[in-house]
Symmetry: D2
Subunit: 340 residues, 4 copies
Amino acid sequence: MLIVLHHSASEKDVENIKKTITKMGLKPVAIPGAERTAIGVIGNQGWVDDAPLKGNKAIMEIIHVTKPYKLVSRDFHPRDSVVTLGGKVRVGGKSPFLMIAGPCAVESRQQLMKTAKFLKKAGVPVLRGGAYKPRTSPHSFQGLRESGLDLLDEVRKETGLLVVTEIVSPEHVELVAGKVDILQIGARNMQNFDLLTEVGRTRKPVILKRGLSATVEEWLGSAEYILFNGNPDVVLCERGIRTFETATRNTADLAIIPLVRKMSHLPVIFDPSHATGKRNLVGPAALASVVVGAHGAMIEVHPDPEHALSDGPQSLRFKEFEKLLARVRGLSAFSRQKLF
Amino acid sequence: MLIVLHHSASEKDVENIKKTITKMGLKPVAIPGAERTAIGVIGNQGWVDDAPLKGNKAIMEIIHVTKPYKLVSRDFHPRDSVVTLGGKVRVGGKSPFLMIAGPCAVESRQQLMKTAKFLKKAGVPVLRGGAYKPRTSPHSFQGLRESGLDLLDEVRKETGLLVVTEIVSPEHVELVAGKVDILQIGARNMQNFDLLTEVGRTRKPVILKRGLSATVEEWLGSAEYILFNGNPDVVLCERGIRTFETATRNTADLAIIPLVRKMSHLPVIFDPSHATGKRNLVGPAALASVVVGAHGAMIEVHPDPEHALSDGPQSLRFKEFEKLLARVRGLSAFSRQKLF
Amino acid sequence: MLIVLHHSASEKDVENIKKTITKMGLKPVAIPGAERTAIGVIGNQGWVDDAPLKGNKAIMEIIHVTKPYKLVSRDFHPRDSVVTLGGKVRVGGKSPFLMIAGPCAVESRQQLMKTAKFLKKAGVPVLRGGAYKPRTSPHSFQGLRESGLDLLDEVRKETGLLVVTEIVSPEHVELVAGKVDILQIGARNMQNFDLLTEVGRTRKPVILKRGLSATVEEWLGSAEYILFNGNPDVVLCERGIRTFETATRNTADLAIIPLVRKMSHLPVIFDPSHATGKRNLVGPAALASVVVGAHGAMIEVHPDPEHALSDGPQSLRFKEFEKLLARVRGLSAFSRQKLF
Amino acid sequence: MLIVLHHSASEKDVENIKKTITKMGLKPVAIPGAERTAIGVIGNQGWVDDAPLKGNKAIMEIIHVTKPYKLVSRDFHPRDSVVTLGGKVRVGGKSPFLMIAGPCAVESRQQLMKTAKFLKKAGVPVLRGGAYKPRTSPHSFQGLRESGLDLLDEVRKETGLLVVTEIVSPEHVELVAGKVDILQIGARNMQNFDLLTEVGRTRKPVILKRGLSATVEEWLGSAEYILFNGNPDVVLCERGIRTFETATRNTADLAIIPLVRKMSHLPVIFDPSHATGKRNLVGPAALASVVVGAHGAMIEVHPDPEHALSDGPQSLRFKEFEKLLARVRGLSAFSRQKLF
């Protein structure tokens, strides 16, 4: 249950309402950073009888919510949220289609700098690169870890690009948040609730990937953890789901993008590299995301995919990426004029 | 194994090669309607030693195939196939993006005629409408069956629209093929091999929908049955697959479209109505199919979706369809100039 | 809607009720072979107002049904159905655990007879063997077809074993029903509704396999087609579903067996060969089916699996089958005494 | 690659081999706690040329491994591992079928103590109970957390039962390991590699649940992380996978149990409560796990399921559990005599 207050509500009104809720055997929760003054009510199993709150003049509206999420829903925040990255790049709403690109993993200073300079020149504002790599086997390359973070930090200082990297443990939040502009929660950690809570306590924007077998409801529930802990700057990222079909690495669930946009006010981007797993499908899938209404795309690009330490087969070469970038820009301009 | 002959090969050469194959314990199959004179070899389990055929001057090339399909593959027919519908409308290759529209089920003369006239005016060349409806329960509306076919026949004569309808039994082939221009094999019958064989013996174009849980390989294997039985005019139709996600009726597997186009020369269209199951997602999904390279789309439209006997929630109203049609046309024109 | 009548209801009562239903715009259907005199009502979309029937003294109970099935449900037929095969072997209820075994495909007289004699000696009452093989590719072995049927007929006459074979087309029903004792509908044809209707018109028992991606509700809906067309002798067969996991051929959905037994009165058997696809998992899965309450199992056995034309890797050798048979019998006896 | 040494190999031999591996550009890893002296080799992408190691007399065998796991495989450790819990209860190999039971979540001292006393009397050696509950929504009950741990600690001291609880963050490892006997990694954290690494550094036994959409290979890869970090005491727990079927909460993948037992030497138990999600299916599924060769089962039981704060519908009442326990014991005794 969400209790939305009139702008005129006083501190004392808020205290009174909280006391009433406590007497009802429930727990009031102040909802931080929202555009309306509101109190969330938790601790209920199912429907709550709101009689004790009816008639309170400070209350504008009582919203009964049976979904696992409240703060991320359109019910609570009807207009598109726009998230500002690194103080300068905007994603969501009517902002330009955001391109994020870079290698799967940070492998070396040279590999990263070469890619960064290429992207800088191409006008791509955000560099991606994994320092901590979650890998199925402990015997696989696990990323350069701390030294990978240092390289990312160095490159962003030198090029002025914003940098996003995956964070895999609540213990790393402070360290990682000090070195990059945007935190990424990967598919395998989408329901790592302690990690979600921890990044919810920072003020860094978070890209939240959908889990391999997460329903849309579960995905929004995970985003809710971040907002609920105080961080409103969440960008959802569809990256394909696991199905019976093995002809592609995952199944790109593109139709879910307009659905999520109806359910939530958060920006939604798309990762065609993991969604398809095949270099020659990345382009078509990226273009599709533009016309279904994604706010951006995150694409793997590598100076030398044949020798990449991970995800080589789905990484674009520089020339391929340039060609795709031009198409995405053209299609995005066309879509805004003619489709949306 | 496919044995491709030189154009100079004589009847006698062909007979000799067939005899050699038979001696090898295998079965030669003449491959009908292909652009190259070729003999298929079947009956093998795994790899075949082609030594007895080596050196034969009539043979241009021996192609070893380990996939479940040969005739539908790009290996065998490198260029895009173009299928002509009803002697006048073309789909595949560089042909214009094909729109097929109409109600899920034929319900009445009035419903069908009203829809047909609307589509005619809008410039849509093909009307869809189910006379035989495969339904989970025998207690659900099963379609008007024979009288539905008669209505379709009447409408195509009156409007000049081409008509496609689903066929559900080998016993109906002659009847249905006499009343409509295009036969549709539904998702539930994708591996009804007797039905595939039967429609393979007609000369009517066939729209072959992907099964709910069919892999791309199985789908192409089913198309192979139709070509193998003599009918080269197959149009593949992606319509969503069954996954764990229930927020949409099915999961639209859009990335598979460019993949299938690389594997096969057959035209591929998309059904956004069944793939999403939600009216407000049909448009975005249809637009996405344009940019991933589909050759057309099949969309459910109904004069009064609230009272449709089936699939109401995913059927577009006339006005909605008109708006989508304009967008698809604009996007298609743009894509051909700028993307492909 | 089901209308259950008192035993005292007369022919005239039945006629009157049917007239009332017709006036309500719906269609009355006599429900054949049931333990209660009942009239089914079809043609409705959603809830039916039963006011016109209320107060009719011949009516004992009106059951509103919103599921896709009525006749197969426990609501309608509370006690376990027992199906008699070939006039002598019973499956369902408290009948002994039924073993069905044999090769995937009928390959030769020798192969079939050898297997049949082995099974006869082992006390297995039903032989399975495919004459028509639904195969992904038209280039794979399609079964011996008519001559395979003749071999099955010959073997059943010579050995006295009952025989079950898959039927793949409505056109074959008369032919196949004349040669074997039990008809099997395979997973790929579970929603081939014309085929279901046709076998529903025979008096041969039908083994109905669950489709690769069929929900329990859809499976029961398919069984409903057979009962609705007059044939009450349906045996359900779980054979694994298609999931993301490829370590086994399918995923054996064993927990569904007790669930289906609660929903429906029909006997349920299990096919561990297709469910697992691996010889060394067939035994454990078969044993599991005994303790979850399956009424029988259908197992692939072959005199020489290494040279089988299909499904060799999942076929048991004679010795392996004998060992499993002894275990199944022991476990079944134990279960009946101690578990059920 | 695994290098297995002769028992006669000296410290110096080991050092020499490590140097050779380093020169090959790879990394040698001592394999702790194994029954054979061995050196693992990591850092390779694909096949390694072992020529530099050939002929070394200290080496008994070189095992090339291409799977994501080495230490958990039968190749490396052919015999069943037996894990000792709390210094007194054994699971795996020929140890008695292990029963673990208790509420989904620790709710109160009374609820926990009542359950513990019941289990103690029934002879169940291990109590389960969640202190930290991973929940889809931040608005759902998250568990009593630290105070839940204290209750578990109190109850184990008072009753002498062993206690297992889920751990959700690497930061909690020290705290949780001090209060309970066994750590559980839940399905959502199966690929939380930092957590796996951290529990790998303790000496507490770990129950590792399979992820909702994890393949067997990925599951074993996760177990490998724990062993690789020094903790050999891992018990695998199958708990159902996510599929298209929603009639059960998950799909119990029982056939995977004998498969995993062939692939790995680790004990495997089964959680029928989460696998089915329905009280009346828990019993049949638990019995099935006995006959497929599981080493134990973990079952949710609650003094008052109707008022449970989570998982009420799948929790057994005390009487139901008692009845099931007697059956499991009877079946287990029978199976050991007659089936295995």
